[in-house]
């Protein structure tokens, strides 16, 4: 795929989001949590970028900043809108964002909290349509029925309430709602983590099919490497607010260049009893984003630490075609990928 042919849809530049820590009676500022600490990446139209990492790595905060569900501390979020203009989303006010909202939508993690329990499926899925001007009830009914069919549900169900549906079905309803306004970018925040194994496969298949059919662009946030591998074109691995590696799916899983990526892959238990287990699990705990270690954030847990890792912060740099790593020793290390 030619890099210059397909235009990018989203470009994130040096995104930062910090949360203040306040203590005491007069709420004195005692520190900051750098939840997102200089994150940059692009997503091309029609592709899926997987954003993977463990708890506290900042992937959910990054996703929410892009959606402008919160305001970034600094950085740019450049979005190519439907009319061709390139807009920086980060400084926009609520009113300025409103016309752009239909173009960026979200699929939530929790199927039980993402639908309003007091509204029917029709009301839930039709909300984005109603709010954006489709007042004719009959037209909305048609559109919602079409969306439900698209996501594998029977259109007759639109008068039912969410409590009548299982987790997997509710997730499909959430997907139908996200697609209602024909968005250009869909941010999926752990959409299958809360589902049973057999249902995960169904929903993942659905997302793959929809992407092909509707030419969607996805930012797929997850903590499960196997799921990310299955659905992404490119993968970004995050650790304590920073991207430590970014490459195509094939590249990153065959030849990871960052020790943390390799460790993540090793830690996933394979569903094969003959696979070797218990080989050198990563020691230590995830670093504290309020007080990260000096130098490379990962160095206390890294088996390949040297002096420079302890003192100097590594930058995200390109070491192969489209393969970015944040590691001082990336060229020297020979790491094993997924078996």
């Amino acid at each position: 795929m030619s890099e210059t042919a397909t235009p990018w849809l989203l470009e994130v530049r040096h995104l930062r989001k910090s949360f203040p820590i306040r203590r005491g009676f007069n709420r004195k500022l005692v520190g900051t949590v750098r939840a997102v600490d200089d994150v940059s990446f692009t997503i091309r139209e029609g592709e899926t970028l997987g954003l993977v990492g463990e708890s506290g790595c900042g992937k959910t905060t990054t996703a929410r900043c892009i959606l402008r569900a919160m305001t970034p501390t600094s950085g740019e979020i450049l979005f190519r809108a439907a009319d061709g203009r390139i807009v920086d989303l980060s400084p926009l006010s609520r009113a300025e964002l409103r016309p752009l909202r239909p173009q960026i939508q979200m699929i939530f993690q929790d199927p039980f909290g993402s639908l309003n329990p007091r509204m029917t499926i029709f009301d839930n899925v039709g909300e984005p349509l109603l709010v954006n001007g489709l007042r004719d009830r009959r037209a909305r009914l048609e559109r919602v029925a079409a969306l439900l069919e698209l996501t594998g549900l029977r259109p007759e169900y639109l008068h039912r309430f969410p409590h009548a549906f299982s987790g997997g079905q509710r997730q499909r309803i959430g997907i139908a709602r996200a697609l209602a306004t024909e968005p250009r970018l869909v941010v999926a925040d752990e959409p299958v983590s809360a589902l049973d194994v057999s249902v995960q496969a169904q929903v993942l298949n659905l997302l793959l099919e929809l992407q092909t059919r509707l030419s969607l662009t996805f930012l797929f946030v997850a903590h499960d490497l196997s799921v990310v591998k299955h659905i992404s074109d490119r993968v970004a691995v995050m650790y304590v607010g920073q991207i430590v590696e970014l490459a195509t799916t094939e590249d990153i899983f065959r030849h990871p260049r960052h020790p943390y990526t390799a460790a993540l892959m090793r830690a996933v238990p394979a569903p094969d009893p003959h696979a070797p287990s218990g080989d050198a699990a990563l020691a230590g705990e995830v670093a504290n984003p309020a007080n990260p270690p000096p130098g490379c954030y990962f160095h206390p847990r890294c088996p390949f630490t040297t002096e420079v890792c302890r003192t100097e912060r590594p930058v995200l740099r390109e070491i192969g075609a489209g393969h970015l790593v944040r590691c001082h020793r990336a060229e020297e290390l020979a790491l094993t990928g997924a078996r």
Partner: protein, 345 residues
């Protein structure tokens, strides 16, 4: 072969709701031998958690154990049927925590937020003192604290003498789970029940915890019942696997049998539908059609038949298959292998 520590025979647990009876566990049998890890795997509604609660006799009303036996064997004494013991009686309380210990899913919810983790373990030690130390002088507070610090060290908690005085919410997820494991092992139980112990923690921490459990199990010879929905974890931890669906056992056998030679259509379909690290990316996964039925809407006959690609019309839709051997160590409840047999009830 040494007799099993735990024998579950045809266990049935029903929930009597206003809307109807939910047969949460409907005829489950398996054995746990000393030093072995038995994995119970299944999706939501399969009854694995209720089975565990029944063993510990903590099934909440409107749920009740309505049939079957749970035989627990301590040392060379004759086995005791746990279903016959009063859940709140002294006999069951002596077993719970000391002989059979639980590692729950959410360590944050299992620890009291107003007591230090050390205090809670010391409480357990003193409560069950006469079980793990039948003779000798009573445990002093100082001794109990020393033991707790040692326990923390053995589960890999750094700075144990400081962590003993920490509250559960001051510890990270991994440390909390280790403290929970320390508490479970404090009274040297014969059987450990781990209920999804790594679901709520990160994958790198999970790897550490699984290593720890394997190591402790080898050292102390504790039998473990490992409940999870993650097939990868089961493959790494268990020696014997029980696959449950809607309250019944679909298949059980050695871990090699289940993963390399699964016989039941549900097991096969489940294994195929997991996105693994080795599956080709961006291809459609083979899925199990349909979804798990509502517990009140159990299908007639075999519970899996509406979703089974190999269902035999007229047979699978009418009768419930019994669990029968399909290999030297493997059992399955499926009419593909046993035409004539049907279970009662």
């Amino acid at each position: 072969m040494t007799p099993p520590v735990l024998e579950v025979k045809d266990l049935r647990v029903h929930f009597l709701l206003d809307e109807g009876v939910v047969r949460a566990v409907d005829g489950v049998s398996f054995d746990v031998h000393p030093g072995h890890v038995v994995g119970i795997v299944g999706e939501s509604g399969c009854g694995k958690t209720v089975t565990m609660k029944a063993v510990l006799q903590i099934v909440e009303p409107p749920g009740r154990v309505v049939g079957g036996q749970i035989l627990f064997r301590k040392d060379s004494a004759p086995p005791v049927d746990l279903t016959r013991l009063s859940p709140r009686g002294a006999a069951m309380r002596a077993i719970r925590g000391a002989e059979i210990a639980l590692i729950p899913q959410e360590p944050m919810a299992a620890f009291s937020p107003v007591h230090t983790v050390g205090d809670q373990i010391i409480e357990a030690l003193r409560l069950h003192e006469r079980q793990w130390r039948p003779t000798g002088p009573r445990l002093s507070r100082h001794e109990a604290r020393e033991m707790t610090v040692d326990l923390f060290r053995s589960v890999g908690i750094s700075m144990p003498d400081q962590r003993v005085d920490a509250y559960s919410w001051q510890l990270s997820g991994g440390l909390r789970q280790r403290a929970m494991i320390a508490m479970a092992l404090s009274c040297k139980p014969r059987l450990l029940i781990a209920d999804e112990p790594t679901t709520a923690i990160d994958v790198t921490t999970q790897a550490q915890i699984l290593n720890l459990l394997r190591d402790l199990q080898r050292r102390h010879g504790t039998a473990i019942v490992f409940i999870t929905h993650d097939l990868g974890v089961i493959a790494q931890m268990a020696r014997y696997v029980v696959v449950m669906y809607l309250g019944r056992v679909m298949e059980q056998g050695s871990v090699a049998d289940i993963f390399h030679a699964p016989k039941h259509p549900y097991t096969r379909a489940l294994l195929k539908s997991i996105p693994g690290l080795h599956v080709t990316p961006r291809t459609l996964l083979p899925t199990i059609a349909g979804s798990i039925p509502h517990p009140l809407g159990r299908p007639r006959g075999c519970p899996f038949h509406p979703r089974c690609p190999d269902a035999i019309p007229g047979v699978c839709t009418e009768r419930v298959p019994a669990l029968r051997p399909v290999g030297p160590e493997q059992l399955a409840s499926c009419f593909l292998y046993h035409q004539e047999e049907a279970a009662e009830g």
